[in-house]
């Protein structure tokens, strides 16, 4: 089973991202589960969503406390060290920022040298492709490049199903661009 946890703020499409990821997995014939965890519902409040991918039916309903991959859609959340709690020692982290991974201060990950950290300026990529800096689906492209958990083609199809028409193709393009950025910058896995 592969578990993903996505952090962001209300209005950034965190929940949609988890849903689209689950649709992409479904399209590859895999089992997937996606669900949100709301705090108080308002724009700007911290939001988490979870996605589990497996090849057998998924029965667990608890929040993902030990993610294999973690996406941070909003870098202002990085001040909260509890953000990374439970990350798998060989897990993957993808942060939405223009800054390269080495420039980030992530004390919570200091004792987890096996965790791979990548960054991508998903907001900017989104702005260029879809006209608004909503980074959620672009970040999924980055995630796939980083982890190899699904195929890019499946992600693009899932995006197209969730958002028909121009919105879908624009977001798919953003996802592909982020995918290529992360693929190119990916640290070799030790």
């Amino acid at each position: 089973m592969f578990q993903i946890r996505i952090h962001g703020r209300g209005g950034q499409g965190v929940v949609t991202a988890a849903e689209v990821l689950s649709i992409a997995a479904f399209m590859e014939g895999r089992e997937a589960q996606a669900f949100p965890s709301f705090g108080s519902e308002r724009m700007g409040a911290p939001v988490m969503a979870f996605c589990r991918i497996d090849d057998k039916p998924i029965r667990s309903r608890e929040p993902v406390s030990n993610p294999d991959a973690l996406i941070v859609q909003d870098p202002t959340l990085l001040v909260n060290a509890g953000l990374f709690a439970g990350i798998s020692p060989e897990g993957f982290v993808l942060i939405n920022t223009e800054r390269p991974p080495k420039s980030l201060e992530l004390p919570a990950l200091a004792n987890l040298p096996g965790v791979h950290v990548e960054t991508v300026a998903a907001g900017e990529i989104a702005r260029r492709n879809i006209g608004r800096p909503v980074p959620n689906l672009a970040l999924l492209g980055g995630l796939i490049a980083e982890t190899g958990i699904l195929r890019l083609e499946s992600l693009k199809q899932a995006i197209g199903q969730k958002f028909p028409g121009k919105m879908g193709s624009a977001n798919a393009a953003a996802a592909e661009e982020a995918y290529n950025v992360v693929l190119g910058a990916r640290q070799p896995v030790a």
Partner: protein
């Protein structure tokens, strides 16, 4: 056909396949996506003929269906929590009148304090309203139970509520198999009422009944529940043979062969429980679990049969009856009366608190050593409680409880290392 969709949409599509003719709608989190999806299906003409009525309260929502059902229409609505309570009078009226209304309850906690997250306090508080209460473990089961619910309701002339855990199921995307219209039509013929307002054959419905006959009339409702015990099993089997998957029924056992300890629960937590059972079995613990699908009528005989060899039963329930403790557990104890089985109650998941596999493992370990408190509160913050009792005891005007507890919690979790996702204590 398989889809990866949100639970609410799955339920809406399943209900639409059952061809309801009148749907009433009043929004409340977390069921609202269901009625929104149904409204779109009616508006587009995909679900037709169907009158979709936006009403002014949940009391009106159920009352409208009482009229529609009495007039011979197949009916549907959905609600949760406060909404279910707001229609309480109408719930009793519908079951008392014998109207086969089907309703989804997106299980949600009841205030005060106001809370939008999942637990079973809403449907539990209405456990005696005379409705049949079925609990879904997954979104697939939610789909299947709605289809079975109409068959059950109409055959017995009794209303049925399908309980679907709010957020956990309603807002979860998972793979579901939606049947075809033909499959559902073959399983569910058009509604043929036992009683109906008909200008060609007038009847009076809803008369007052005094001491001379009330007992008998009430017993006949109880009798329907007794008949439902058999019918629920039969409909589950019919569903299996027509749709090709086991679904419904009164209870479902998981790895209970040779189990000394059995965990019993309602609804979605059974998924997490099965994972826990697998892990414990790998560790050599003789443990299994039972999912109860039909809470009302309560399957006394089936449970007794399934649990008769267990030394110990652990009930996980998402409800706390103030002044008593566990209700599911007491109902189960009734099924086991006369036997020496130990029954322990774990109160968990109140107000949406996550039920963690690791916490369950810990609790099971305590139970096996006979060290489980009764009732046992999973992941309870006893510091918070002691602190509040102390604080409030110091002065008469100590202020609102909930707000002070929240403040204390915020202060105690000011530590930035605290995980955002709950972990077992």
């Amino acid at each position: 056909m398989f889809h990866q969709i949100e639970g609410s949409l799955a339920v809406a599509k399943a209900v639409a396949l059952c061809r309801p003719e009148v749907v009433s709608c009043y929004p409340i989190t977390p069921q609202t996506h269901i009625v929104e999806a149904v409204s779109a299906l009616v508006k587009s003409g995909e679900l037709s003929p169907c009158e979709f009525v936006n009403v002014e309260s949940e009391f009106a929502a159920m009352s409208l269906l009482i009229g529609a059902s009495a007039a011979g229409a197949r009916t549907y609505t959905a609600t949760s929590s406060q909404g279910l309570l707001f229609m309480a009078e109408a719930l009793f009226n519908a079951s008392g009148l014998g109207l086969p209304i089907v309703m989804t309850d997106g299980n949600r906690a009841i205030g005060a304090p106001i809370n939008i997250w999942n637990d079973h306090s809403d449907t539990m508080s209405m456990r005696d309203c005379g409705w049949i209460q079925l609990h879904a473990e997954s979104n697939q089961e939610a789909i299947d139970l709605h289809i079975q619910a109409y068959k059950l309701a109409e055959q017995l002339s009794i209303p049925v509520m399908v309980c679907v855990d709010g957020f956990i199921l309603t807002h979860a995307y998972e793979k579901v198999d939606l049947p075809t219209q033909k499959q559902v039509d073959d399983f569910l013929p058009p509604y043929e009422p036992v009683q109906v307002l008909d200008v060609n054959d007038p009847v009076t419905i809803g008369a007052m009944v005094g001491p001379e006959a009330y007992t008998e009339v009430r017993y006949l409702l109880h009798h329907k529940h007794t008949c439902a015990i058999e019918l629920i099993e039969q409909i589950g089997m019919d569903f299996n043979s027509q749709f090709g998957r086991p679904s419904g029924g009164l209870i479902t056992s998981y790895r209970t062969e040779g189990a000394e300890t059995v965990i019993v629960a309602l609804g979605s937590v059974n998924g997490t429980i099965q994972e826990t059972v697998d892990e414990l079995r790998d560790d050599g613990v003789k443990i299994g679990s039972i999912k109860i699908t039909s809470f009302r009528p309560f399957p006394l005989a089936a449970l007794r049969d399934a649990l008769q060899h267990a030394k110990r039963v652990i009930v996980v329930e998402k409800y706390l009856a103030p002044g008593l403790g566990g209700i599911l557990a007491s109902n189960i104890r009734m099924a086991l009366r006369g036997l020496n089985t130990k029954v322990g109650t774990i109160v968990a998941g109140l107000g949406g608190r996550a039920i963690l596999k690791n916490s369950l493992r810990e609790a099971v370990a305590l139970a096996i050593c006979d060290e489980l408190e009764e009732p046992y509160f999973l992941d309870m913050n006893w510091d918070l409680i002691r602190g509040e009792i102390d604080r409030a005891g110091q002065t008469r005007r100590s202020g609102p409880t909930a707000e002070h507890v929240l403040r204390a919690l915020r202060q105690s979790t000011a530590n930035p290392e605290t995980p955002l996702v709950p972990v077992a204590r």
